[in-house]
């Protein structure tokens, strides 16, 4: 090998190392639907950066993790829509420029300024939504019964239902069944919700997480999942089309997730670009159909990119009706949250 080749190789190597060191990395704390290559790769290629994603479970856990972190550790956060205020109050989120977000194209109910904005400053933007409602096996139960919440958990279906293991949507459903709006839930209305939960609990064979609930439905262990929805049943419906979901006459609970830039980010511009990519029609379509779970995109312009099959699984054409009939997750303050959780744990352990 000539000296010149060595020098050339060395130079190339140094250039490569330098490039690697200079390549920007974006660190995102996300839900599992943000980890698909199909979603992340296009952004990485366009900006020549690497996106590191880390999944988490539970807002409390994420906030604790962020509070324990050093500046620059995290750039982007995906968080439950009703919990944005908790992150803002802890000073974790940076303001977002309203004029650069396509909220005009969003489903109007999903912009949720009251959740994403504080004192006129926007801190997060909604990216995806769906429903916590009733999933069921249409061959084993009477679909007409599923339209009435109190029939669902009546003794008629005792031991044939499973309850989704998250207290907020399930208590929201209990409130809706009793005619209490989820936004109006207070300490007093827990007296109304308590007996409904007890009734639900006594009819239920189990209180289950995502996979346990899916297993129970697919193996015939139970025929109904209270708190389920498209995100639970879609993966099963391909092989067992009798597993489906509905929104009862009284309505159901709507979940949303938001995305924002962290105040401690050392590359806020790149982080903002990522947020903008996620809420763009292309990003939205990819997010809606992620491998982890499907859900409606917040930006209705994604409808031009999704194909007809995808839209029919998402029940795109029913959204106007669904949005009108569903209510947002209960969003309790810290004290009420404690009371709700205590009631839930108390009912569960009975």
């Amino acid at each position: 090998m000539t000296k010149r080749t060595v020098a050339l190789l060395g130079g190339t190597a140094m250039w490569l190392v330098g490039a690697a060191a200079n390549a920007q990395e974006l660190n995102a704390l996300v839900w599992c639907d943000h980890t698909d290559d199909a979603l992340i790769k296009p952004f990485e290629e366009e900006f020549g950066v690497t996106v590191n994603v880390r999944e988490y479970e539970g807002t409390g856990a994420a906030l604790a993790l962020l509070e324990q972190s050093r500046p620059g550790d995290w750039d982007v956060l995906v968080i439950d829509g009703i919990d944005v205020f908790r992150a803002v109050e802890s000073g974790l989120l940076a303001p977002l420029p309203d004029d650069q977000l396509p909220t005009a194209d969003f489903f109007p109910e999903i912009v949720m300024a009251e959740n994403n904005t504080l004192d006129g400053v926007t801190y997060a933007v909604t990216e995806k939504f769906g429903y916590n409602t009733i999933s069921y096996n249409s061959e084993k139960v009477d679909p007409a019964d599923m339209q009435d919440l109190s029939t669902v958990w009546s003794d008629k279906y005792a031991e044939r239902i499973s309850i989704y293991d998250y207290y907020l949507p399930v208590m929201g459903l209990a409130a809706i069944a009793e005619g209490v709006a989820t936004a109006d839930i207070d300490a007093k209305s827990l007296d109304t919700i308590g007996p409904v939960l007890s009734q639900m609990r006594s009819s239920a064979a189990s209180v289950a997480g995502v996979v346990a609930a899916q297993t129970a439905l697919a193996t015939g262990e139970v025929d109904i999942v209270v708190g389920g929805g498209e995100w639970l049943t879609a993966v099963l419906a391909e092989e067992q089309p009798e597993l489906t979901w509905t929104i009862p006459d009284q309505g159901a609970v709507r979940w949303t997730q938001s995305i924002g830039v962290l105040a401690d980010s050392e590359q806020p511009d790149l982080a903002l670009e990522f947020v903008k990519y996620i809420v763009s029609p292309e990003g939205q379509a990819r997010l809606a159909t992620s491998a982890c779970f499907w859900g409606m995109p917040a930006n209705s312009a994604a409808g031009e990119i999704l194909n007809d099959d995808q839209k029919s699984v998402l029940r795109w054409d029913d959204q106007t009706d669904y949005l009108a009939r569903t209510q947002l997750y209960p969003a309790p303050d810290a004290d009420l949250d404690v009371e709700m959780q205590d009631l839930w744990l108390d009912t569960l352990s009975q």
């Binding site: 064979a205 262990e221 810290a334 569960l348 352990s349």
Partner: protein, 283 residues
């Protein structure tokens, strides 16, 4: 103790483990202990000496139930696992030809290496209404209708026992093979039958090993979250499940710490109780 081995040398052997434990366990644990006396004001942590968390513990019925449920499950699992694992370890140690023993032992613990979380879900399938057990029982005519096995305490205990039988077989076997065959031979020479040999010779000699394994089972079982969460169907709540709820949504570290300290106190009591009962001064 030979005179030539000095105290200084002894410290040298113990120091690395002690330092590691101090730095990475005691210090964090003290922080955790201090945190159980802290309190949350809104989202921010206030250090101090507040008894709020312990008062809450004392006044919430579900926390007491969780303690009770955890204890019941853990004791059942520990007893059943020891009773099932001991004969298995003994058969491997005394009946299986020596050249096959290690293979038999490894076969007995191999399933450990399928992921624990995935394995719990596999139990859910085995115990399901259309699962292997129900189908077998129906086929041999023992039952006419499938019985509910999944999402019950039975399922939780089964999942745990499966895990701990493997673990205990390993620890008890390690103990059994260290027994000199002379003990057994001597007992037989003295006219003892197999049961007497076991009762008066082998069992007493292996008690320390059993106690180690049983105590380990107790601790791992009482602190585990995944098995009851997956298999129990939340039909009753254990302490770790309650702790996880405090952490996941609320990040109530002070209350979670207080719960953890209560759990640790229970384990300490179990340790003291078993140590005295079995006259153990080691383990």
């Amino acid at each position: 103790m030979s005179a030539g081995t000095g105290t200084k040398l002894g410290w040298g052997f113990v120091a690395p483990a002690l330092l590691w434990t101090l730095a990475f366990f005691i210090v964090p644990f003290l922080v955790m202990g201090a945190m159980s006396f802290a309190t949350l004001e809104g989202r921010s942590l206030v250090w101090g000496f507040y008894l709020d968390n312990y008062i809450e513990l004392a006044t919430r019925a579900y926390l007491w139930r969780a303690i009770l449920v955890s204890l019941e499950i853990t004791l059942t699992v520990t007893v059943v696992s020891v009773v099932l694992a001991y004969p298995l370890a003994a058969i491997i140690a005394f009946r299986v030809p020596p050249q096959w023993q290690r293979l038999a032992l490894l076969l007995a613990i191999l399933p450990f290496w399928t992921s624990y979380v995935v394995r719990s879900y596999a139990w859910l399938l085995v115990l399901a209404r259309e699962g292997l057990i129900n189908q077998t029982l129906i086929n041999i005519g023992l039952i006419a209708e499938p019985i509910t096995l999944a999402n019950t305490r039975f399922a939780t205990v089964t999942g745990f026992v499966h895990f701990f039988v493997m673990l205990l077989t390993l620890t008890i076997y390690a103990n059994l093979v260290q027994l000199s065959p002379n003990y057994r031979r001597a007992a037989t020479d003295l006219g003892a039958n197999a049961f007497q040999t076991f009762r008066h010779v082998i069992l007493p000699l292996t008690l320390p090993g059993i106690a180690t394994g049983a105590f380990l089972t107790f601790v791992l079982c009482i602190g585990d979250y995944v098995t009851p969460q997956v298999l129990g169907g939340n039909n009753e709540l254990t302490m770790p499940q309650v702790i996880m709820v405090q952490l996941g949504r609320r990040a109530d570290f002070p209350l979670a710490s207080a719960l953890a300290i209560v759990m640790m106190a229970i384990v300490m009591l179990a340790y003291l109780a078993s140590a005295r009962w079995l006259r153990l001064d080691r383990v």
